[in-house]
Amino acid sequence: MRKLANFVLGFILLVLVVWQFPWVINFLSTPDSHSTFALYSTAADDFISNKMDENKKLHRIGTDGKEYTEAETDSLLPCFYMRQLVADGRFPDSIQGEAITPHEVQQTNVMIRLNPRDINGNNIQLYPLLESMPKRVDLEMPDDVFRITSKGVEFIKMETNEVKQAKSERFTEALREKGFQFPSLWISGDPSVRKAYDEGYLMLDAKHQLFHFKRCVGRPFVRTFAVPDSIILTHVFAIEPSAHQFRGLAVDTENRLYVLTPDYQLVLTGVKQFQPKTDRLMIIGNKFDWTVTIVDAHGVHYSALDASDYHLIRQMDISFENSSISGLHFTSRDDKFCYPRF
C-alpha cells in the first residue's frame, strides 16, 4: 500500500513539474508580439501595416518598405478612416471612379471576427428563434427556444418548460419538406435583439446539406443553398451585415472558405486555408475589397479579396516562431475545455 501511495505522490509531482515549470518560464519571458495590423489599400494596391518601433512610435509601412504619413494612410484607406476624413473635410466624392457617400461606406463596411474559442466549447444546444418580420421595428425575444433532436425540432415554452407540440410538428414538417435530414450537424445564428434585422439560423443537416431556417410572421421559412455534391461543408457562420451583401461564411472539409450570397449560392474565396477549430479569422471589408487576416500556429496570413467576387488580389504572409516552452497545460486560448494536454 505504501508503494501505491509513493507511486501516486510521484505521479502528482511529475504532473506538477511538467505543468508548472514551463508555465513559470513562459510567464517570466517576454512574449513576442505576433500579429501586425495590416489592411489592403486598393488605391496603393498594397498592404499597409501598422508597426510600432522601439520608442513606441507608430509607423505605417507598405510591403515594399515605403512609409506613409498618417494623412496619407487616411486617404489610402478611405473606407476604414472614413470618419477621420469626414471630420477633416477630406472625404472624396468618389472611390475607384464610383460616387460614394459616407453613409454608403458605413452601410457597406464589414467587420467579422471568428475565434476558435467560440466554437470549441460545450455550448448550449438551445436556440431562440426570433420573428424575422416583426410588426414593430424592434426585434423581440420569443417566449420559446428550440432544440434539434434526431426526430425533429422541439420548441420549449420557457415559462412552463414544456414542449410546444403543435409548433414543433409544424416546423419539423417544414424542414422535412425541404429535405432536411435530422439531426443537425451545425447550427449558427445570432439570437440577439440588438441588431438591425434577423435572418434566423444557418444549419447543416446530417448529410452536410446547408439550410436557412427562420420564422416569418409566425410561420417556418426554410431554404436550401445550392451546394455542389463535391463540396462537403463542415462549418457555417451566419452573419447579418448592414447592407445584406451576404448571408454568412462556410468552410468545407478541405478548409476552403466560402461566402454565402443572398441568392443562396456559395462563392469560393481566394483565401488559401482556414481551419475554424484552430485559426483566428478577422475580415475588415468595404464595398471594394476585403482584408482577410488569418492567424494560425505558424504565422499571420493576409489575403486581399475583391469584394465583388471574392477572388484573391494580393497576399502577404508573416511567419513567426513559437518561442514558448511546451509543457502540460489544462486550458487553451483556442477552446473553453479544461483537460490535460501537451
Binding site: 505522490l9 438551445l126 489544462f330 479544461c338
Partner: protein, 218 residues
C-alpha cells in the same frame, strides 16, 4: 471506528450540511428572484446568451467545507495524541487511516449529493435539461475540489514533521489549482471521469504520512 469518527465530527457535519445547503439554496433564490422580477424567460435567455449558471456563488464553498472537515477530524487526533493510541489497535495502521478517511469521504459525498439534489429539485422544474445539467456539471469540479481539499488536508495534518508538512502544503496548493483553473461553465465535462479517479487516488497520500508517523519521524 466509524462510530468514533461520527461522535467527533457529527456537529461539524451538521453545520457543513446546513451551510453548503444554505449557499445552494441562496443560489436558487437568486435564480428565483430573476424569474420573479423579469420572468423565467429572462433567466433562460441570460443563461443562453451570457453563459450565466447561477451557481457561481458555490465555487469555493466545498473547498472550505472539505478543508474544515479535515481540520475537525484530524487536528484533535494529532493535538491530543489520539492517533498514536488508535494506531496501537490490533488492526493494520493503513486500514485504520483508510477507514477514518473513508468515513470523511462518504460524509462529504453524501453532503454533496444532498446539495445537488436540492439544486436539481428546483432547477429541473423551471429549466430545460440542457440548462440545469450545465449548472450542475459546472459545480461538480468544485465539489471534487472540496473532496481533494479534505484528502490533501488530511495528508498535511497527519504528517508528523513540520518541514515535510510545508512541502505537502505547497504540493496541495498546486494540486488544488487544477480544480479551479477554468472559469468557463461545464468546461471540465470530458475531464470529470479522470479527475474523479485522481481525486480518490489522493486518499492514498495519507498512508505515507501515517507510515512516517508510525516510524517516529519528526
Amino acid at each position: 471506528m466509524y462510530y468514533k469518527e461520527w461522535i467527533k465530527t457529527r456537529w461539524y457535519l451538521l453545520l457543513m450540511f446546513l451551510i453548503t445547503s444554505g449557499f445552494a439554496g441562496y443560489s436558487l433564490l437568486r435564480l428565483h428572484r430573476v424569474a420573479a422580477l423579469n420572468g423565467i424567460d429572462h433567466a433562460w435567455i441570460v443563461m443562453l446568451t451570457h453563459d450565466v449558471v447561477f451557481v457561481d456563488l458555490l465555487k469555493f464553498v466545498p473547498l472550505v467545507a472539505g478543508l474544515l472537515l479535515a481540520l475537525v477530524q484530524f487536528v484533535p487526533e494529532m493535538y491530543h495524541k489520539c492517533l498514536k493510541l488508535t494506531l496501537h489497535l490490533p488492526v493494520s495502521h493503513l486500514t485504520v487511516i483508510t477507514q477514518m478517511l473513508g468515513f470523511g469521504v462518504v460524509a462529504f459525498i453524501t453532503c454533496s449529493i444532498l446539495n445537488f439534489l436540492l439544486l436539481w429539485s428546483y432547477m429541473h422544474h423551471v429549466l430545460a435539461f440542457e440548462l440545469w445539467s450545465r449548472c450542475l456539471l459546472t459545480a461538480l469540479p468544485w465539489y471534487l475540489g472540496g473532496l481533494a481539499a479534505y484528502l490533501l488536508g488530511a495528508w498535511t495534518i497527519l504528517e508528523p514533521a513540520w518541514g515535510r508538512r510545508v512541502f505537502n502544503l505547497l504540493v496541495s496548493l498546486l494540486v488544488m489549482k487544477i480544480y479551479f483553473i477554468s472559469d468557463a461553465p461545464a468546461s471540465y465535462n470530458s475531464f470529470l471521469p479522470a479527475l474523479s479517479v485522481f481525486t480518490l487516488a489522493l486518499l492514498t497520500l495519507s498512508w505515507i504520512s501515517v507510515a512516517r508517523f508510525k516510524e517516529g519521524k519528526e
